[in-house]
Amino acid sequence: MPEEITLRVSRYRPETDAGPTFQEYAVPLREDWAVLDALNYVKDEVDPTLAYRWSCRMGICGSCGMTVNGEPRLTCGTFLVDHAPGPIQVEPLRNFPVIRDLVIEMTDFMHKLGSIQPWIIRDESADDASVELLQTPSEMDEYRRYSMCINCMLCYSACPVYGLDSKFIGPAAIALAQRYNLDSRDEGAADRLTVLSEDEGVWACTFVGECTRACPKGVDPAGAIQRAKLVAANEAVKAFLLPKWARG
């Protein structure tokens, strides 16, 4: 008989439940199992009604974010042995509406992500289509860190500002705006600034810094937001003082 550990899993069945309740499952405590493996074990062997999202199992897809023992974590990278002897409490990501069990509603994030136009905006009329747009390693280093974002939404779950007012555009969306703003091939910074410089944009952030601590990919959204604030403030001063041709 192998050693076991208890998972306390948040269950919410909208057709019958008024709110979430906890259900406990005993799962084998295997050294090579992450919380996601344990959930898959429960789903396959114990209770097929458990609902949760997952896909790649290797920290790339950003689907399996949940609240593990109160912390926003990717469950594929959170190992059972690190939380032994347990119990391990597994809840949906905080700050989002819950659809069922551990599955959250992410439409709000998808709209926000689209609003910052996370792609290269560029007037290509003068480009030679047969020539690549080259970039030096130092130009790439400018945005590389922000490009590691996998849209897992752990930063939204960690952010008290987003929890208190979901109108805030949020850490990942701003980090991704900076990822393109700082790209030497991109010309869309002014377009994105109109979204970022709104009250619900960068100015809603009070620099708690929890998004950066929660990020499993080392993106540092908090740093990206403060840098975006500096740009927004600079642009506002320039717009006030300088004629259009001199703003650059």
């Binding site: 989002f96 819950v98 620099f207 810094g209 929890e210 908090a222 403060q226």
Partner: protein, 132 residues
């Protein structure tokens, strides 16, 4: 239209959310200690007003400032202002990207420069108030 209606469960932020994590609490304390900075601005304005109003007003300001309750307020406010300053110095490198010859300055250099500036200003004040 199907007959299915989505019934979302909306999670609520607890009233005392800022007590739920150490880092949230440290953040709230950092923000609230800014009131100590406001107090010192008011105190400084009071001093300027007293100096401008003549010797009697200035003496009254000095007498008031020596009263234990005002000394206590100032000591507590100083502790809060120092906490506020140190926590902001700690996060400044995250917000500031400075380059020297196209190389990004390390965070310790930026924080170090802030502490040096603080030290320099303090030294000038000590020279004025104590030595001169």
């Amino acid at each position: 239209m199907s007959g299915y209606q989505q019934r979302l469960y909306r999670q609520r932020v607890p009233l005392f959310w800022w007590l739920s994590r150490r880092s949230y609490f440290a953040f709230v304390v950092r923000e609230l200690t800014s009131l100590a900075v406001v107090w010192f601005v008011v105190y400084l304005l009071w001093l300027v007003w007293a100096v401008g109003s003549g010797p009697t007003a200035y003496q009254r300001f000095l007498d008031r400032s020596a009263e234990p309750w005002l000394v206590a307020i100032n000591v507590v406010a100083l502790a809060f202002a120092i906490y506020h300053t140190v926590t902001w110095f700690a996060v400044t490198p995250q917000a500031m990207v400075l380059r020297v010859r196209r190389r990004r300055l390390p965070g310790q250099a930026i924080a170090g420069a802030l502490y040096l500036a603080w030290l320099a200003v303090s030294a000038v004040l000590v020279w004025f108030v104590v030595i001169k």
